[in-house]
Symmetry: C2
Subunit: 594 residues, 2 copies
């Protein structure tokens, strides 16, 4: 049987007079004085079909029984809509189909929520349980199509640039670093476990050792974390590694890749090259390593000015090792006292005790309850340093460096939201480079790698590796898009002696080393090319492309916040024989039923 000669979005007035076959779902149905009008829907659009006894008595009679979401097949003829009945908002709005015969392909129960309404009011749990109906509504389907186009654009671009797509194993080895692994019990090796990959990190570096030169994969990654908002246990990473290169070789490739994705999916030309800032400069200017550059409002260090003021609150903080920083809201004079109080409360929730402010009025004069603590000279210095223009408002915070940065970063983003400075159709990319190589784990009182022990230290800092390791920067980089970390990567160590030094700093014993990274260190000892790589958060990119803040909107079958699939009801209990075969048992004594 031929189910269709055309999609439901295809017919135009040029096809008037054509005999057609259409199949689809009954979207809406209207009875008008003996005529039955149905909007027939498929993925490609809607077409109005008309049952009129004049065209076919039988079909008209059968159409009486049709209900929403039934799937039908019709044969008929394309006819013009009557004048006044045309619908210019609909691609097929100038025509309709005079139905000559009807076949019901499958009936439908009444859906738990409407498919044809533009807005959906039910809670997300119900939408996830009936995910197939939610997708059928069209909005998520369109996002999945964008995801598809982005995947193909990625693959085409990287393939054209000599990157080879390699699928790395899902049944991998559990490593004690990083987040919590999902484990898979082995039946053939009882008592042993595979781990699902958190990322293909080790495999992709091994592919460089193997001489693959350039690798990529749109890789499924899995982490058994307590789910925060917008996290999923399964997520997708554009995973890239290349040999015989350094960041200046990789950055243009990633920039062109983003250009290709944005052009394919949105028709938008992203300007390149992207801006670059070091981690230190980022923290200084924005208080965060992922600044949103769709708007200005950089942070300005005001400690030296505050030091010379007579404002006790500032001076006390400075005396106890804190800092004073501020930001300037352009034309912020419209922010009322109540508004200022709101921001004060907002930063209070982040743990800072106060929010100082000043306005510069139309005469150029600064005013606020603390202006009096600043001499005219200091006020002028402040105006200069922060670029305060007439009508601007500044906020200042004095606290520890960490708290001040954190609070001003949040405040800056909140103000941007409140003042609509963060358009979702505006794309600001930024490379943040030179992150610290190590961090201090204050719980375990030891130095640990900021990312992993295979990140290349910054060339200029090599002399401090054994003496002042916490000051050593790394050859690492994040790609930030509109304030979100969108990609992260690093140059890897390819020199065995340097690698040994890193292990020394980390105080790894040979046994620990063998247990954690044995096979990998062995692999690196057979001739490792210089190499570097990056992993791009694919779901996040699709969220930006489709202007959603909900990661579940860009994944076909997402998990709930409890990592459940509400549609299939996974996870579920399994047959005891399955566990017997795996030689594992459920530890009921300790089981907490949640």
């Amino acid at each position: 049987m031929t189910f269709r000669t055309h999609h439901c979005g295809a017919l135009r007035k040029t096809e008037i007079g054509t005999k057609v076959i259409l199949s689809g779902w009954i979207h809406r149905r209207r009875d008008h004085g003996g005529l039955i009008f149905i909007d027939l829907r498929d993925k490609f659009g809607l077409t109005q079909i008309v049952f009129d006894p004049k065209y076919s008595k039988t079909a008209h009679q059968e159409a009486e029984n049709l209900r929403s979401e039934w799937v039908i097949r019709i044969e008929g003829e394309v006819i013009p809509r009557a004048e006044g009945m045309k619908n210019p908002k609909m691609a097929t709005g100038e025509i309709e189909i005079a139905v000559h015969s009807l076949k019901v392909l499958s009936k439908a129960k009444t859906p738990p929520f409407s498919i044809s309404d533009d807005e959906i009011q039910v809670n997300e749990e119900l939408r996830l349980k009936y995910r197939y109906l939610d997708i059928r509504r069209g909005d998520i389907l369109k996002k999945l199509e964008v995801r598809h186009r982005a995947m193909q654009a990625t693959r085409q671009f990287l393939s054209a640039n000599e990157f080879i797509e390699v699928n790395t194993p899902l049944l991998a080895k559990s490593t004690p670093e990083g987040s919590r692994d999902y484990l898979v019990p082995s039946r053939l090796s009882p008592g042993q476990f595979y781990a699902l990959p958190q990322s293909p990190q080790l495999f992709k570096q091994i592919l460089m050792v193997a001489g693959m030169d350039r690798y990529f994969q749109i890789a499924p990654c899995l982490r058994d974390e307590d789910l925060r908002a917008n996290r999923q246990p399964e997520f997708t990473q554009i995973d890239i590694e290349m040999s015989f290169g350094e960041p200046q070789d990789l950055f243009p490739i990633i920039e062109e890749l983003m250009k290709a994705i944005f052009k394919t999916c949105l028709g938008v030309d992203v300007p390149t090259p992207f801006r670059q800032m070091t981690y230190d400069a980022c923290m200084e200017q924005y208080g965060t390593d992922k600044p949103d550059l769709r708007f200005g409002m950089p942070l300005v260090n005001l400690s030296d000015i505050a030091e010379r003021s007579t404002f006790a609150v500032f001076k006390e903080q400075l005396a106890s090792g804190g800092i004073v920083k501020g930001l300037c809201v352009k034309q912020g004079q419209d922010i009322s006292r109540k508004g200022i109080d709101g921001y004060t409360e907002f930063v209070g929730q982040l743990g800072v005790r106060g929010l100082a402010w000043m306005k510069r009025d139309g005469d150029g004069v600064l005013s606020s309850n603390i202006v009096k603590f600043f001499s005219t000279e200091l006020q002028n210095e402040l105006i200069q340093k922060m670029g305060i223009e007439k009508g601007d408002l500044i906020f200042m915070i004095a606290d520890s460096k960490e708290k001040t940065n954190q609070a001003l970063d949040h405040l800056r983003r909140k103000i941007a939201r409140d003042r609509n400075l963060n358009s979702s159709k505006h794309y600001e990319f930024l490379w943040v480079t030179d992150f610290p190589l190590f961090q201090w784990n204050s719980d375990e009182k030891r130095i640990e790698s900021e990312h992993h022990p295979f990140v290349q230290p910054h060339k200029e800092d090599l002399h401090m590796l054994l003496t002042e390791p916490l000051k050593v920067r790394s050859s690492s980089y994040d790609l930030v898009l509109n304030g979100h970390e969108t990609a992260s990567g690093s140059q890897r160590i390819h020199d065995g002696e340097l690698q040994q030094k890193i292990f020394e700093v980390l105080k790894l014993t040979p046994d620990q080393l063998k247990e954690r990274f044995g096979f990998f260190v062995e692999a690196l000892s057979y001739g490792t090319p210089p190499h570097l790589g990056i992993g791009l958060g694919f779901d996040r990119i699709i969220m930006v492309l489709t202007e959603t803040e909900n990661i579940r909107d860009v994944i076909a079958f997402p998990k709930s916040s409890k990592a459940s699939d509400l549609m299939t009801e996974a996870p579920s209990s399994v047959d005891p024989t399955q566990l017997e075969e795996l030689k594992i048992s459920i530890d009921t004594k300790k089981t907490v039923w949640t």
Copy 2:
């Protein structure tokens, strides 16, 4: 640092005089009277580099220390090779590089097997342990590149044909049907488990219910089976589903897809359309549902002739319900008595008691130890029916239908191997259609689905569904390539009432139904379009494209026959705290250490 201006396979005599930078591995090294010649290797090829004190004393001195597989970077000038030293077999064979400076990028231990030898003699276990070195040897790397090209060709073709690539979940629901699932214990729902997908079957049908219209995925699939040769616990499937179509709509798409893959990867034009045979015809003519059509030798039913002979062995088999079938080896007269004995032994191992044979000599006369049991008339009938020409040899087997078919299928393929009729560069596709819908499970004394309960019965057999279900054919199809099942699929049921009938035949109680397929049957009840699909064995296709019989050759990091990754040593034991978090324990009492 710039690591290279050219790949190691790039330079030709047109570049003579150019200053270049190359990086790569030391492939081979030869010292000739004060000169050091090195073949420098990367993925793209080999370039000969020359250390001569004349060009640089320092570099020449440093080069003394270089060893195989070290990674180096050199700067130098492209110069012509001396006459008589050119190597026409090498793409870069007309030039060499006069090295001006050398930098060792990383040293290498002596590999456990040679990278530069053409042949590798070590056992596969060692190759899998040092997979990165085996890949570096080049042969597997080239196969992985073919795999990459086939993936991209697949995606481009299907994307251009309105198929949307959707990633379905890895953490899925365990279903009791099919092979054994890999289970993943849930931490957030203690005592419950996810299953890794054996295929995205249910999800892809759900996507059709969701209105996706056309879906594909190059999907990882996992099955916890006892591994036979050429099986892997993780394998890859080109997974396809489409709505509003029937096999005649799908077949041309799959044929064009195969055409695109073979053209992209091999430059070969696969002729289309592919041949089609029903399951019944296949079993009759080839004794198997996956015949290798690179060669002829169809099976011929000779029961009626045997019946009229006086050969007791044949007549006894027929009397006890067996059959007699034969095949004709064209110009098989060269097969000696010893050869015939070998084939007799071969089929004996398959459980049949004898192999009858006849030769037709140059005069057209049949000869063999059993010719005397056949009248001249019967001999002529035999010659006609089997198309026996002068010089041909026929084999005949009498046994039960199943055993006869099985033995002749194996014999046919063995003869083809022995006579080199099965060129690995020759590609014969065949659609096998109309498989039985059900099969009889003689262990459990019940009817079960041949594939799964959602396969559409053959239209012409619907009337037998409740009365003679085992006679009902299904609307299903396999794609066979050179005797291997390469794809399998079916039209799915979209009509709720028909679906209920199938469940009746399978004698599923409502409770069983709910437990096994609850959410899926629910999904099908909200308006299911007619749909059908197919899954193509991607690894198998790559094996054919790369002419290997070893599935591990086409997977970057394959598992051993015990499902272990010998390189990373997965599976492995894990930290007891990880198991505590999952509320599972290893059942040591029952543990059998294998």
